[in-house]
Structure formats: structure tokens, C-alpha cells
Symmetry: C2
Subunit: 345 residues, 2 copies
Amino acid sequence: MAYENDIFLRTVKGEKTERPPVWLMRQAGRILPQYRAIRASLSGFIELVTTPDLVAEVTIQPIDELGVDAAIIFSDILVIPEAMGLPYEMVEKKGPNFPNTIQSEADIDKLDFGSMAAEKLDYVFNGLDITKKELNDRVPLIGFSGAPFTLFCYMVEGSGSKTFSKAKKLMYQNPVAAHKLMSKLTETIIAYTKLKVKHGADVIQIFDSWAGVLDEQMYRSFCIPYLKQINDALQADGIPTIVFSKGAWFSLSDIASIGSDVIGIDWNMGTDFVRETVGQNRVVQGNMDPCVLYADHKEIERTATKMIDAFGGNHIVNLGHGVYPDTPLDGVKAFVNTVKNYKKS
Amino acid sequence: MAYENDIFLRTVKGEKTERPPVWLMRQAGRILPQYRAIRASLSGFIELVTTPDLVAEVTIQPIDELGVDAAIIFSDILVIPEAMGLPYEMVEKKGPNFPNTIQSEADIDKLDFGSMAAEKLDYVFNGLDITKKELNDRVPLIGFSGAPFTLFCYMVEGSGSKTFSKAKKLMYQNPVAAHKLMSKLTETIIAYTKLKVKHGADVIQIFDSWAGVLDEQMYRSFCIPYLKQINDALQADGIPTIVFSKGAWFSLSDIASIGSDVIGIDWNMGTDFVRETVGQNRVVQGNMDPCVLYADHKEIERTATKMIDAFGGNHIVNLGHGVYPDTPLDGVKAFVNTVKNYKKS
């Protein structure tokens, strides 16, 4: 497929490019006045996620407003638990809440999974169809899913948590049940992300947002095998992959061994650490601290340029986390423009 | 001072001991039925913190019930902001809330600091006096303080946060003001911890609970110099120190360079990483995942023994975080007993 701007896809494939591509996690979101206007007209976040026309509109807003090199379909990682039979609500200023949670192996046995679950998510695929049409080949489109462990965390814990100790308790007390849930999630994620690609996604990013609550051994036992299964299934169909395990610096070499096309990196991980661990030839994505965007434009430019220099190519510029909702739009633009104007020194 | 059980102090000083000492962060707390009984009789957490008789009682409970090798005075890190002029309330199931927060340099200029602030905390020092008397030289007593950055986070943010983006925003937008607040906090912490020692604390632990939201460069600029200032002031008076910067693996070598007697370690940091970074001769404290205590006793014993073997001496056994409130007491006892019965293989 030919895009007006394909620098993102070329970098994903490991080609040398004239500058690094740039996009931001959560670029379709509250940083944009256009997004806030749509959100204000709705009953809540879930209405937006489930309305394909609006999904397309907010997905494309940052392409128009910021000029980023890739779009990422607006959605939520928790549509998968919902499709598996565990509905959730989004509580304003608090985050997700699951009225029912997974507490036992019997709860896991009741869940739908695989294609049967994924195929329920029509509104996601319709949103992709409309987005694809309206994007009109300007830039590639990223599809995403939460990783099995991060979805597991929410399904057992029932909400966000600093420790996810209830989720980890299940892993320590009933590892057989925990693996069963991870496995069902894995099959659902594979079916879901393949359907996303069928409906126009060019690349799939897997977000393991809560990876950092584990340690190397637990991540190796409970997460790496499932991430590898997902990655292998996608790559077998020629689908490029990005794996981003936030906070899992201790497992970075295991994560590299999965073989994803791109490895996501957070700002805790210095460029030296990253390159020593994954090598210069792997494509990495990240990793500026989102809080740098609160600084003045000179500082943003300085920090972004230093990061690009330090990664030394094979690098997709992004933040190390989703952009924070109260980030000044001017700061975001200064960041994007720094990357787009970057010239090797 | 001679204690019935001085294995903790001997290890802090770098002496070889017959087994590692053991205590738990938050050992005086909800894991103990005795603690829950006292808490249930009170209006709230802050009443407990400010009542010296009860402080002594809950501090000593884990010595009686668990047989740990050190007591840690029951208190709260947020008494320092309170003494500096920023009162807080503890909201049940939500955590601390500051009705007023620091938003500008003018707010910082108004704060009390140093001895003038620390001397207000009579109830803490009275609690130490009573504890010391009632402990009757059974085990040493640890005093503690939050680190400047962690207290800064609460004072600016006003509550807990996953990102502490408001606190970091101040650092990025007004570094001069941020350093001024860090500096006032540092002087207060030094005065406060010295008073704790005057009232019987044998060792001071500095908790930088939110260190992990920063990166190496920010931690080096905004945190390390103040931690070093505190550490130097205490050691100059012959006071042994423990510095625990949770989540700051990226700054572990900077933290080691501070020269504290003991370095606290969380479970993200594997023993190989720790020993490679700080060396075999430094005393470290930690680092089992608190969630291991949800597992069966065999698994607790296996994991604790493996950790002790791997650290290879110069090690104070602890968790990598405060023990979680819903941890089974039997599991905690299995952990403590494993350490106390440990014999080098």
C-alpha cells in the first residue's frame, strides 16, 4: 500500500530514513481542543469508543492538527474483557471499573475467547473501515491491544491499582488458573488484532502497561510466552508488531528475544541501557518523559534532539507513556516539529 | 547501647553475622489483628499517628507477634509537610489529601522549615520516648523520614498519583522554585531525623517512594544532592543511614555514591543487577515481592532462601515495599521464620 507519508512504515521495517518518524501515544485525546469538544457532547468515554464515526473523527484529528507520521485507531484496551463477557464502566476522574471480576477458575471457564469474542467488536472494525477511508492514504494506521497481563490485571483487580496485588495474588495462589486466563486472553488478542489488520490497520502495537509491577522471573513465566505467541501469530501473517512493556526494564532482553519489529521504551530506560541491551540494529520506539512537554520550547527541542542523537537511528520518536491530558498543545507541536525538522549533525 | 538482639545493627555496620536480620516495612500495621483492633477504636489514622502511647503500642506489636529483628517507629511521612505549614487529611480507602498545595514560589516562601518546623512534632518524639522505654532494649529502633522528592510530590500534587505529573510540571517549569522547596525539605528532614535519634532512634531510613517517576538525569539533578546532604549530616553525627529510592533502578549507582550505610532495593531489581551495580561489600536491604507472601509456605520459604543465597551476605532481609494490608499473617510468619532459621548451605 502506498502512503503519502510512509516514513513510519519504512522505519518499522528497519529501513534507513532521512529523519525518525514521530507519533504520540494518546495523540487522539484531551490534548486536542477538537477532541474535547466531541467528548463534551457525549454521555461518556464509552459512547465515544463505541461510535465508529466519532472514532474515525478523533483518530484523524492529530494527523490534521499535529502532522504526526502515523494514526492510531482511537479505542480502549478494555473492549477485550468486555467481549469476553466482563463488561466495565468508565468512572469520570477515576478510571475503569468492573462490576464483576475474575476470582476463580470457574469464572475463567465461563469467559468467551478467541474469534468468538473478538468478532463481537463490530464497532471497532467499523471505526477502522471509516478511518481508513477518511485517512485516504495520508499516513499508516496503527491498531493496538492491551497485552494479556495488563488485561488480566484489570479483570482480576476490577479497577486501576498502584500494586495490582489482587491480580498478582491469583498468580501466586493459583498459577494454573492464571495461565488459563492468560491463554484465553492471548487467543482473543490474536483474533482481535488480525481482524483489526483485515479492517485496515498496518501495524499492531501491544501495550503491557502494568508490566512494571512484576519482576524478571514472573514476567518470564507469565508474560513473555504469551507475548511471543501473539507476536509470532501476527508476523506469520506478515503483520509488523510493536511490543511496549512499560516499566519492564528488568525483562528488556527477554522482550527483545520475542522478535517484535519494534520495541517500546519508557523514559526510565536511558538510551545507553537500551542500546546495550537490545543492540543498535533493533528498532525502538519512545521514550521522552511526557512531562518534558510542560517545559519551554527550547528545553523540549533540546531534550528531543538529544534523545534522537543518542538512539542513533532505528528509532521511532514517541513519549515513554501516553501524553498527559493537560499538556499544552504548543509544547506537543514543538516536539513534533523538532523531530520533523531534525537533521543529522 | 547493648540490645538483647543486635543482629540488625551489626549488619548495618557491615559486620558478618550468623544469619541476615529481618524486618518488614509496614510491619506495624494492618497485617496484625492487634493493630486493627486499635485502629477500629479510633476516629482515624491521624489520631493514631498523633497519640504517643498508641504509637509505642503499635510499634512494639510486631516485635512481640513476629519476632522481627528491629522495630520501626510507627508514624507517617506526611507529618513533615504538616509541620512546614501544609496540613493534610487521610481519606479512608483513598489516601492523603492536602486541602492547600504548593503552586508557586510564593507558596514555598511561606513555609516553615528546619528546626523551627521539626520541633513542632512533639507527638513523634514523645512516641519515641515511650517506645524506647517499653521496648526495653530488646531490639534497635529505626526512625524514618520521607525523602525530599517524595514529600515534594505530595505537597505539589496534593494527593497520591500514578504519574505525579503536577509535581514534575513544577520541576520542568520552575526549577528554581523546585530546588528551593527541595532545599527547605532537606533542612527540615535533617533537623527532624536528628531529633528522632535524640529520642532513641538508632538508625534512620529515608524513603523515596516515588523516585520511579523520574529518570536518571532528573534524579541526579533534583534528588541525589539533597539525599547526600541528609546522609552526610546524619553520618557526621555518627548516625547510620538507609536510603531506599523505590523504582529508581536507573539511578542505583548514583544512589550508591551517596554512601549510606544501607541501600534499600525493590523487587524489580534482580540480585545480579544489584550486586553488579553496588558491589558485594555494600549492605543492601530488601527485596522480596510482597505478593510472594500470598503464596503457600513452601513457596515463601523457597523464594526467601533463594534471595538470601543470591545476595550472599551484607544483606538485611525485607520486602521490596511495605507489606500489603491483606497479607495472611501466617505467610508473614513463615517469611520471618525462614530468615531466622537460615543456615548457609
